[in-house]
């Protein structure tokens, strides 16, 4: 017997979506397998790794733990929504520049956590970065280059804000 499906209305990266999903789907499953935004990754599907982190109403959120219904009517931003027509987000460019993404599988989730951090505090200390990323496991980098990238992006955002 196939699962019951229903219609859910989502706002993802500013776009409105109205999609039919099985009622037990999470936000992550809906993003990846229904809407086709595969940037958000699934590393564990149970809230342990942070690869699925997206931003919901300004908060970093584990999309594998959020029933899709809970996202209805809220602003969802995924890694795909961080870039604009003008180019990649400072974080995205700095991750590339600083070698902060090796396999890249943790990267979308880390970028979402870091983006929220920098919105609140563009010049975080190392400890504050560590704290903000403590729910995002990275198995490749040892985190050092990720910290470098977040700091560089914060500086760039500050410079841009201060530019006349």
């Amino acid at each position: 017997m196939p699962a019951t499906t229903d219609i859910v209305r989502l706002i993802v990266n500013g776009d409105r979506h109205e999609v039919g999903v099985p009622t037990h789907f999470t936000l992550l499953e809906t993003l990846r397998y229904v809407i086709g935004l595969t940037g958000s990754k699934q590393g564990c599907d149970k809230g342990d790794c942070g690869a699925c982190t997206v931003i919901v109403d300004g908060e970093p959120t584990l999309s594998c733990l959020m029933p899709v219904w809970e996202a209805e009517g809220r602003q969802v931003t995924t890694v795909e929504g961080l870039a604009t027509a003008a180019g990649p987000h400072a974080l995205q460019d700095c991750f590339d520049l600083n070698g902060a993404a090796q396999c890249g599988f943790c990267t979308p989730g880390i970028l979402c956590s870091a983006a929220v951090l920098l919105t609140r505090n563009p010049s975080p200390s190392r400890e504050e970065i560590q704290e903000a990323l403590s729910g995002n496991l990275c198995r490749c980098t040892g985190y050092s280059k990720i910290y470098d990238a977040v700091e560089a992006a914060g500086r760039r955002l500050l410079d841009a804000a201060e530019a006349p």
Partner: protein, 792 residues
């Protein structure tokens, strides 16, 4: 950004500078495609039914109720693929799905393809398997001493042998016993290395597609597409030419995806049965069952030295707990001894290694395959010896340095060797002289060194073909296309071939396209394992690029009426070296070459030296075209009330030959040190025993319970690149992906000793284990800062 490492003396332009990775922005914007990101019209979802018993006979499987479920399109069991496979051609002992015996909790017995995962899961519950439970071997010592009164895990190779033994290796070089007897000091130690797993953040995933008549396509998160290609053909009984393996980007592997797994055979077979694409994505729990992680090693070492600190003789006895299948175990058993003979010289060496099967998920290669465990034991032995002879552990290591362009006692050929520079770098950066034995009780520093291979001279299956190949095309647009079969698992090999193409052909980096990950149009590369890729693929890429460069130089030289070797290609231009104001855009240069030679393409390949190895059975294993070297210093603070070890910082110096892109090399060094740190302090692959649940059940198959370090756990890491410029490496490069892991663990163990005077000879250095050590030391009255070397 273009920064050369401060010690670089090269005239290379792009090689040796920090560069972006070619897929870096795709990864940071969410565009990068991994296997599970793919879907196909009509695609079915597969699930695998797994054994609840550690050891049992499969008497019968009834799939009729599952097959009748609406939405189920296909079911396979072991009987549908009754051919054994194995990554090592001499030890094929696995079926894609178990045929008549299950050997660990989690072994696959049947697979279902259905319209969605929910339906497939429901179908699994309807499959009835009739098991006859057998006594299980969970302890390697029990497995080793089995007498056949209960069934062995595998059939013995010969009647009367113990079927639980995968491999035994006994090798002896020099007069081990005589030199030990004559040693001024001998240290004996017993060590235990707990098993650990890779835990890449991407779970394994595969998709099968059958075109309905003759062609099978499999997408997989594998790190060895070539071996997968071969095994699919063998097991499914279709020609290799009918099989195509595609490898999307891989979300981490570390050795955990370096052989075929049940899911790849199942998606292929199910696609052939149903005529529809089939995807299987492992759950995180299944990733833990698939395992192939680091073997638990029980090790005994006797190490001798003269009173002035020269190693005399080393004697090792090792039991490897292999889990249910052979995997790479034959090689692991050799590596457990073969890779210990540098960076120190030792006149005599013997090792006696035995790998046994147990009814647990199979162990295999994890970053630093087979040599991380003995390195832990040996570097702690050296620390103990240094203390006995009254030498600073740095000095002890220096006195035993093996040198460069030499042979080890087991006849491995060492070429370039920057180990002394590594020692010097970490000694200086860590402030060792001010810290060792001088910090207050509870704080300490430790040092360790190591070596690792840059690939192996002999491929996994014997053949004389190249180990790595690259194809390159340039065309009149200025674009360079590189066809590479190498496995991008995050280490940057796709970028490395692009850097090489840009360096040799003088085009901007973003004019290079790397076509990758498809056995249909890329030359063979054997895979991302044993730290072989940069060395071998890099040499193949240089070979291909230089052939094209020569054609362009010749065409331009002819047009300018100058000698071809005076034509420089760099930065998007062709220039005349004696007077670089004479120049033309590189695109025009390519046009001249195309007019002169026709359509422009070349192939390049690399094969290893086949005449450099020891003349004894096993002498080819561990033979590598070059060796990397590493030294670490770790600084720790130990809370003696709680048994908590806080690693403050790890300094890593690594001789990578030449850093083709320093930022990528540092990334490998930091990632390695991080991973070793996790194994030292946090990670534990624990199984339940009968007193605590179901015996043989993996205790913690999740990323919450299997504790890999978070950002808050990970110490500060400082990487110090050392370049020894290897004569055979591409531009002098060696490896950086695995070597830098090795010293993490012993450096931390030695630092704990410096801090509080207790020896941690068993992993992990978790609070309960450390606290037990503290308690024992307290009762002995030896919980004190050790005295300085040479102090009375």
């Amino acid at each position: 950004m273009s920064v050369k490492p401060p010690n670089s003396k090269s005239d290379l332009r792009l090689i040796g500078t920090n560069q972006r990775k070619i897929e870096g922005l795709a990864k940071s914007t969410g565009r990068a495609v991994y296997t599970d990101d793919l879907t196909f019209p009509g695609m079915l979802h597969g699930k695998i039914l797994r054994s609840p018993h550690p050891h049992a006979r499969v008497r019968a499987i009834d799939v009729s109720r599952a097959a009748a479920l609406d939405g189920v399109h296909g079911i396979v069991t072991g009987q549908d693929m009754p051919t054994t496979y194995g990554i090592i051609p001499w030890t094929p002992d696995e079926y894609p799905l178990c045929v008549d015996r299950v050997r660990y909790i989690g072994d696959g017995v049947a697979a279902v393809a259905a319209v969605d995962e929910d339906t497939a899961l429901r179908a699994l519950k309807l499959i009835e398997v009739d098991y006859e439970e057998l006594p299980a071997f969970l302890d390697p010592f029990d497995a080793a001493s089995a007498d056949g009164s209960t069934p062995y895990i595998h059939e013995p190779h010969k009647a009367g042998w113990n079927g639980n033994v995968t491999k035994m290796v006994h090798l002896e070089f020099g007069d081990v016993d005589g030199l030990l007897d004559g040693s001024d000091v001998v240290v004996e130690g017993e060590y235990f290395f707990e098993g650990t797993t890779h835990a890449p953040i991407e779970p394994h995933c595969a998709i099968g597609h059958w075109d309905g008549s003759s062609k099978l396509t499999v997408w997989s998160s594998t790190q060895v597409p070539h071996y997968l290609h071969r095994e699919l053909s063998r097991v499914l009984k279709i020609e290799q030419a009918q099989v195509r393996v595609l490898q999307p980007l891989v979300g981490g592997a570390f050795g955990g995806k370096s052989e075929p797994f049940d899911l790849e055979f199942c998606v292929a077979k199910l696609a052939m049965m149903t005529g529809r694409p089939v995807k299987i994505l492992y759950t995180r729990e299944e990733v833990f069952y698939a395992h192939r992680g680091r073997h638990p090693f029980h090790m005994k070492y006797r190490t001798g030295a003269t009173s002035d600190g020269k190693l005399t003789s080393v004697d090792a006895k090792i039991l490897l707990d292999g889990g249910a299948y052979a995997s790479f175990g034959l090689v692991t058993t050799y590596y457990s001894g073969q890779l210990l003979c540098a960076p120190y010289t030792m006149p005599a060496y013997r090792f006696d290694s035995k790998r046994v099967y147990t009814n647990k998920p199979a162990c295999g290669p994890k970053r630093g395959h087979g040599s991380v465990q003995p390195r832990f034991a040996f570097e702690v032995q050296i620390d103990k010896l240094s203390e006995k002879v009254g030498l600073d552990p740095f000095e002890f290591r220096r006195r035993n340095f093996i040198g460069e362009h030499t042979r080890t006692v087991n006849e491995l050929r060492i070429t370039s060797n920057g180990f002394m520079e590594c020692l010097e770098a970490v000694e200086r950066a860590s402030g060792w002289q001010e810290k060792f034995r001088k910090m207050p009780f509870g704080r300490g520093v430790g040092v360790a060194g190591s070596t690792y291979i840059c690939g192996t001279n002999y491929p996994i299956y014997p053949n004389d073909m190249p180990q790595s190949g690259v194809q390159m095309q340039i065309d009149r647009s200025g674009r360079v296309a590189v066809f590479s079969g190498a496995s991008e698992i995050g280490q940057g090999c796709d970028s490395v071939v692009a850097y090489i193409a840009a360096e040799e052909l003088g085009v901007p980096l973003d004019w290079v396209r790397v076509m990758r990950g498809d056995t249909d149009f890329t030359p063979v590369d054997l895979g991302a394992y044993s730290s072989r890729v940069t060395f071998m693929l890099g040499n193949a890429a240089i070979d291909a690029a230089v052939k094209l460069r020569k054609m362009v130089q010749e065409a331009v030289g002819k047009s300018w009426e100058v000698r071809p070797n005076e034509v420089l290609l760099a930065g998007g231009w062709a220039m005349w070296a004696p007077d670089t104001s004479k120049q033309m855009p590189i695109r025009e240069a390519f046009n001249l070459a195309e007019a002169e030679f026709g359509t422009l393409g070349s192939t390049g390949s690399y094969n290893t030296p086949k005449d450099v190895h020891g003349e004894y059975r096993g002498g080819t294993i561990g033979a590598s075209p070059a060796y990397s070297f590493t030294a670490h210093v770790a600084e720790v603070e130990v809370d003696v009330e709680a048994g908590i070890v806080d690693v403050k910082k790890i300094w890593v110096a690594h001789d990578c030959g030449r850093a083709l892109n320093p930022i990528l090399v540092e990334g490998q060094m930091e990632g390695s040190a991080y991973m070793g740190f996790g194994e030292a302090l946090m990670e534990q692959h624990v199984f339940k025993d009968a007193d605590h649940g179901r015996a043989g059940l993996l205790d913690a198959p999740s990323l919450l319970d299997y504790r890999i370090p978070t950002s808050l756990d990970t110490p500060e890491l400082e990487s110090l690149i050392v370049e020894s410029i290897d004569p055979e490496g591409p531009y002098g490069a060696k490896e950086a992906g695995e070597g830098p892991l090795h010293p993490s663990i012993p450096a931390i163990a030695n630092a704990i000793y410096d801090a509080i005077g207790i020896r941690m000879d068993r992993l992990p250095f978790s609070p309960p284990n450390v606290w037990r050590g503290i308690k024992a030391a307290r009762s002995r009255g030896s919980l004190v800062k050790p005295s300085r070397p040479g102090a009375p």
